[in-house]
């Protein structure tokens, strides 16, 4: 047995060795994150970085985000639209550090978000390609636009009966209902809520089950709205799920999504009709009905204009007829200074019938002149 040394001497030796080997060196590693513990108040995050081969863990090491690199986690969540949590795969820059009390750790300096984004995008593209390949009847890609059975379903002229899939007591639920109930046109809607968890690992399955319930209910819904929370940062993954996306694409009632994101489109968005936020879905519904009402108002105006025009034309024609009748009446003729000649109460139209010595009556406006014809000559004028 050799002489013992103090533990701190040994750990100092380890620290010196590690320091001399790794001092100033930065490594880029890819690993799965596990045991994630985030302390937002102190802006620290403790976790383990792990590597697996064929499902078996082959290595594990503790890692830390300190306050000065904690923003990397926030950037990861913001850009990738998924929470920084157990099971996520990351590529990151790390520095090896050994502390005599806290042991061996990797200080995480930076997450390669672009790499993670690329991986996610690749998965997304693969899902989209599979959807088109395996559902050619109901999903087609034309000029970069996904045309599905669902998003090509015609909307009813008036939307009134709505199935709402959302999380109970969520911002999305509140925003959607408020926008519909307080619509300025006072349209009335019948809304049936299908409440479920909309975030988390199993959310895609739960949403799909709600769609199945809607289908089984046989209620004549005009529209299905899937809405989620007022811009909260949430897990985007359920809405990129193959089974849910395929189900939405084939769903027999028009589906509108408002799942609270501005930059990216989920696959479910592409299969349905996307309105970005719950409020926008509700506003679209109100606008759709308003547009129909406008069409009715316009039709009524056109009917009224046509009738008015027809009546005016009829009145004009009658006025014209009235004028001609007035001008043609015998009384009017007399009023204008002409005279009517009669013989034995018969109007004489043909002057040839007038002979000399014939007794005639000349009818003027106010008088009748009785006379005898003494002479008859031609009117040379």
């Amino acid at each position: 047995m050799t002489d013992s040394i103090r533990l701190s001497t040994l750990t100092q030796l380890i620290q010196d060795t590690i320091q001399s080997r790794f001092e100033g060196e930065i490594f880029t590693v890819s690993a799965r994150i596990m045991n994630v513990k985030k302390y937002e108040s102190s802006r620290r995050c403790y976790l383990t970085l792990e590597e697996y081969e064929y499902g078996t863990k082959v290595t594990e090491i503790r890692a830390v985000f300190w306050a000065n690199t904690y923003s990397e986690i926030e950037k990861f969540e913001k850009v990738l639209r998924q929470p920084f949590k157990d099971g996520a795969e990351i590529t990151c820059k790390v520095k090896v550090r050994y502390h005599k009390v806290y042991g061996l750790n990797l200080d995480v300096l930076q997450i390669d978000v672009a790499h993670a984004l690329g991986t996610l995008e690749l998965e997304r593209q693969q899902t989209l390609e599979r959807l088109v390949r395996e559902n050619p009847e109901s999903i087609q890609l034309y000029d970069g636009v996904y045309r599905t059975y669902n998003n090509r379903l015609p909307l009813p002229l008036v939307i009134s009966k709505i199935a709402l899939i959302t999380a109970p007591n969520s911002d999305g639920q509140r925003d959607f209902l408020q926008e519909l109930k307080q619509n300025k046109h006072q349209y009335q809607f019948t809304i049936t809520e299908f409440l479920t968890t909309i975030q988390g690992d199993n959310a895609h399955q739960l949403i799909l089950e709600q769609l199945q319930l809607i289908e089984q209910s046989k209620e004549p819904f005009d529209l299905v709205a899937i809405v989620r929370g007022g811009g909260s940062l949430g897990d985007f993954k359920p809405f990129d799920d193959y089974a849910l996306s395929a189900y939405v694409a084939k769903f027999p009632v028009p589906v509108f999504t408002g799942i609270g994101h501005d930059r990216n489109q989920s696959i479910v968005d592409l299969m349905a009709r996307e309105q970005k936020t719950p409020t926008k879905v509700a506003a679209m519904i109100v606008e759709h009905n308003f547009s129909f009402e406008n069409t009715l108002i316009d039709l009524r105006r056109r009917i009224s204009d046509t009738i008015t025009r027809q009546l005016d034309r009829a009145k004009d024609r009658l006025e014209q007829a009235k004028r001609i009748i007035r001008l043609s009446s015998p009384q009017d003729i007399l009023n204008r200074g002409f005279a009517i000649i009669t013989h034995n109460d018969q109007i004489i139209v043909d002057p040839k019938k007038i002979t000399e010595q014939m007794q005639l009556q000349t009818i003027l406006k106010n008088e009748i002149i009785h006379s005898t014809v003494t002479k008859k000559t031609k009117n040379e004028k």
């Binding site: 009738i307 009748i325 043609s328 009446s329 015998p330």
Partner: protein
């Protein structure tokens, strides 16, 4: 004058009479009778038109009322 004529029937007859009057071929001794007939047809047409206007007005008002009730 038969009052059971509808607007179109009355108007066609009126139009025919007016054309005759315009042509000036009606013998003067028949003119008064034609003018009288034309005036009667004119009255029929005007009455029908006024009734039609009133009916349309009532129909329009009842549609607006029904819509307001719905709201």
């Amino acid at each position: 004058m038969k009052s059971d004529l509808n607007y179109n029937e009355a108007y066609i007859k009126l139009q025919d009479l007016v054309e005759q009057l315009e042509d000036g071929n009606i013998p003067l001794d028949k003119l008064a009778a034609k003018v009288k007939q034309a005036n009667e047809l004119l009255a029929v047409c005007e009455n029908k038109l006024r009734q039609l206007e009133a009916d349309i007005e009532v129909a329009s008002r009842s549609v607006v009322k029904t819509e307001k009730k719905k709201k």
